[in-house]
């Protein structure tokens, strides 16, 4: 039994923890928000230099040649510090799709991602998300359609777009974000640190990355993987919220002693830790399933998501609450976890969808 990350992976986590602790703070997040830019380009460049953008990309494609477990580790740390970079869109989704595609265009773009020269995002949501129940059409080398919510679109250089051809065959297309006919409209939402935009494509040049069943399966696999990565991000956020209130609860005095000495407070913090450790355990299993094979993956992803949603939501709500009045002010940092926990709770499907998936997996007898 060695149900844990390897020493190397833990070293990467510690390194990420230290590095992000140095360069990304709530103060830097606030400065970034004031600039109004799509993401923190300076930090993104640093991540590229450190190799993080290609951590799970093969060495022959310019990456470090590690696997999904390293992405888990990095997502946890990025989730904790809420760094405003398009890591999830570009590295955990787009690059993972490109890795599954053959062809020179995919390989070229992957190299640009690894080198920090391209931010890439998946544009798939229309009526719903992560499927081919879509109206976007591809014909004669041009794609037209619109996508409702595209994460990190404002700063993207290239897009992976889901579409159907004339025979309603599924396609994954590659589109240059600066091409003629690409229209992006930034959206105001609950979590400004992860900008989303509306996308309209009007007769835009596009290359085919994958088609047919291959495209369908690739999308489904990346969706499941992404759920597990997201669980790590949520666990990082939940742990960040717990650490914040544990520290505050020790230094904030009321009735002559630290508020964390009250059972009403300390038992709530114990519950936070319990929820986080359950979620972490499920996420570990999810991580294991990323390497071990697809049979366990749907249930592992669903259990990881459900418990991570619960852990992060509880930690974020009660962190804010236990800070008292100050927690409700803009100057306090509680809001960032409060917003992010809500965003991540619905990213990639809401609790009802994951509940269905988990129980369906149980019934099939995993």
């Amino acid at each position: 039994m060695d149900f844990d990350f390897s020493d190397e992976q833990k070293m990467l986590r510690d390194e990420a923890h230290r590095f992000l602790g140095d360069v990304s703070s709530f103060a830097s997040i606030r400065r970034h928000l004031e600039t109004g830019s799509a993401f923190d380009r300076g930090l993104w460049a640093r991540l590229g230099e450190m190799g993080w953008l290609g951590v799970a990309v093969a060495e022959e494609q310019g990456g470090l040649g590690f696997g999904p477990l390293e992405l888990c580790v990095l997502n946890e740390e990025l989730g904790r510090c809420l760094a405003p970079v398009p890591f999830f869109s570009t590295v955990c989704i787009a690059a993972e799709i490109l890795k599954g595609c053959t062809g020179a265009a995919a390989a070229r773009l992957l190299r640009r991602i690894v080198g920090g020269q391209a931010v890439v995002t998946l544009a798939s949501a229309e009526r719903s998300d992560w499927n081919f129940d879509i109206a976007t059409r591809f014909a004669g080398g041009k794609v037209s359609g619109s996508k409702t919510l595209v994460a990190d679109l404002p700063g993207a250089d290239a897009l992976i777009v889901t579409a159907l051809d004339a025979d309603k065959e599924p396609l994954l297309l590659l589109v240059d974000a600066l091409a003629n006919g690409v229209m992006r409209t930034a959206l105001q939402g609950l979590d400004a640190l992860r900008p989303q935009a509306h996308l309209v494509l009007d007769q835009v040049d596009a290359d085919v990355l994958a088609r047919g069943d291959e495209a369908r399966q690739l999308l489904a696999r990346v969706h499941e993987q992404a759920a597990i990565f997201a669980a790590f991000e949520q666990i990082g956020g939940a742990q960040g919220a717990l650490d914040m209130i544990a520290a505050y609860g020790q230094q904030r005095y009321a009735f002559g002693r630290p508020i964390a000495g009250n059972q009403a407070v300390k038992h709530k913090l114990a519950d936070m830790l319990v929820k986080i450790e359950l979620a972490r355990s499920n996420a570990y299993y999810g991580a294991w399933s990323l390497e071990a094979g697809p049979a366990e993956r749907p249930v592992a992803a669903a259990a990881a998501r459900l418990s991570a949603i619960e852990a992060f939501e509880f930690a974020a709500e009660e962190n804010l609450h236990l800070h008292g009045g100050i927690g409700y002010t803009w100057e306090a940092d509680c809001q960032f976890y409060y917003r992010r926990s809500r965003l991540l709770a619905v990213s990639l499907g809401n609790a009802a969808q994951w509940s269905q998936k988990l129980l369906a997996g149980y019934s099939r007898g995993i």
Binding site: L149, Q251, A254, F255, G325, A345, A351
Partner: protein, 407 residues
């Protein structure tokens, strides 16, 4: 078992309704869009004057003070009917009428009563409450603003927070520490502060929602004449309790601008049927709470109508409502999925609904803290309604200056 007015209440309601029908619409017209500005406050003062002239400004007060010596239920009825109109009411005037007036009546000198009560009822004086501090919220008696005697004056230094309407109020209800060498509850004194006094600085607080409904107030060597002290020196806590006891029992939820179960049900119907069902148990539980709160309020009103004192369990209204609001909003945002976080992507009607859930998500968090945090209310219910033992207190017998205070 009757949810209708008594005959007497019904007669009063008719009277109020017809008066409002004739009077209110004019005061609802063209209200300024900025609901926190000076112009809006002026409109609120106008309306207060109008109410006072008709004898509705202080329904429970003796007629000699401009009231009508009626029962608290009549006040509830007036408020219910008044709430049917989008009038410029709320803390703007109720801090003065509902908190300052009863406090001054209970503890003030005849001169203080003469000077402040009528002008407040007439809408001439607007008030704010200067109680909470950055380091004294749930533990209000741990406040640190210093009051130092200087001849016939007091000099006040400190910082107050969560002060609604401090930026337009004429006077403030202020509690400060006049003696740090005695245990915390014993060294407080209570003052009325003219907000135009030099050294008073009011700044808006930016909330997590981005809005600013509250202020913080900095007091830099602010001079208050001793004639503006209420109650004895060192007995400020007793006066403070009078003010706090008058904070109205509110179960909220009457506002159409905040989410309720019906609005979540509307949202739920946009999902495919099987997913709808998955959310139904959770939503039904919240619905049973919402209903329960509504009828709990009916029971409180019945007590008020009979002139009975409300028990400590009345405080559960806010406790339940605040958590319900947060839970309902969070559930709604879960049902709505990612698109729900970006209202502008929806139809205008749906966008307005979604905006409500965003507001509820933030405001629910605020309500769980404001006016007695969840934990304080549970302590009160346990100790006062169930008679269970109080917490062990390390701060009761120690001089305030000797208490540990963290950072």
């Amino acid at each position: 078992m009757n949810v209708q007015d008594t005959p007497e209440e019904a007669r009063f309601r008719v009277e109020v309704r017809s008066w409002l029908q004739a009077t209110a619409p004019e005061f609802c017209k063209d209200l300024p869009a900025d609901r926190s500005g000076i112009e809006y406050a002026a409109r609120g003062q106008d309306w207060q004057r109008k109410k006072a002239a008709a004898g509705f400004a202080a329904i429970c007060l003796p007629q000699t003070l401009g009231g009508r010596d009626a029962s608290p239920m009549m006040e509830v009825i007036f408020a219910e009917e008044e709430a049917r109109y989008p009038l410029p009411v709320g803390p703007l005037t109720s801090i003065g009428v509902g908190l300052a007036v009863p406090t001054i009546l209970a503890h003030g000198t005849p001169e203080q009563i003469e000077r402040f009560v009528k002008p407040t009822l007439l809408g001439e004086l607007l008030w704010c409450q200067l109680f909470s501090e950055p380091a004294a919220g749930s533990d209000l008696a741990g406040l640190r603003a210093r009051a130092t005697r200087d001849g016939d004056d007091w000099i006040i230094s400190g910082q107050k927070v969560w002060n609604s309407w401090a930026h337009v109020a004429h006077w403030g209800l202020l509690v400060a520490r006049s003696d740090a060498s005695v245990p915390k509850h014993k060294g407080l004194s209570y003052f009325l502060l003219d907000m135009r006094t030099p050294g008073v600085e009011v700044r808006p607080i930016r909330q997590i929602s981005g809005e600013s409904e509250f202020n913080e107030v900095f007091l830099n060597d602010v001079r208050i004449p001793d004639c503006c002290r209420i109650g004895q020196v060192g007995e400020g806590w007793k006066v403070t309790m009078t003010t706090l006891m008058n904070e109205r029992v509110s179960v909220g939820g009457e506002s159409g601008t905040l989410p309720d179960v019906r609005s979540v049900l509307g949202l739920l119907q946009t999902l495919e049927p099987e997913l709808q069902a998955v959310y139904r148990m959770q939503l039904a539980r919240l619905a049973a709470q919402e209903q329960g709160l509504k009828y709990f309020r009916f029971r409180l009103l019945t007590q008020i109508s009979r002139g009975e004192m409300l028990s400590a369990v009345a405080g559960m209204g806010k406790l339940v409502y605040a958590n319900l609001l947060q839970d309902l909003s969070s559930l709604a945002l879960d049902i709505a999925g990612t698109a729900g976080l970006y209202p502008e992507t929806a139809s205008p009607a749906m966008a307005a609904e979604l905006k409500k859930f965003h507001d509820g998500y933030f405001w629910g968090a605020a309500l769980r803290i404001a006016g007695g945090a969840d934990e304080i209310l549970r302590n009160q219910i346990a100790e006062r309604a169930l008679g269970l033992p109080g917490d062990i207190r390390v701060d009761k017998e120690v001089a305030f200056s000797k208490l540990p205070s963290g950072r």
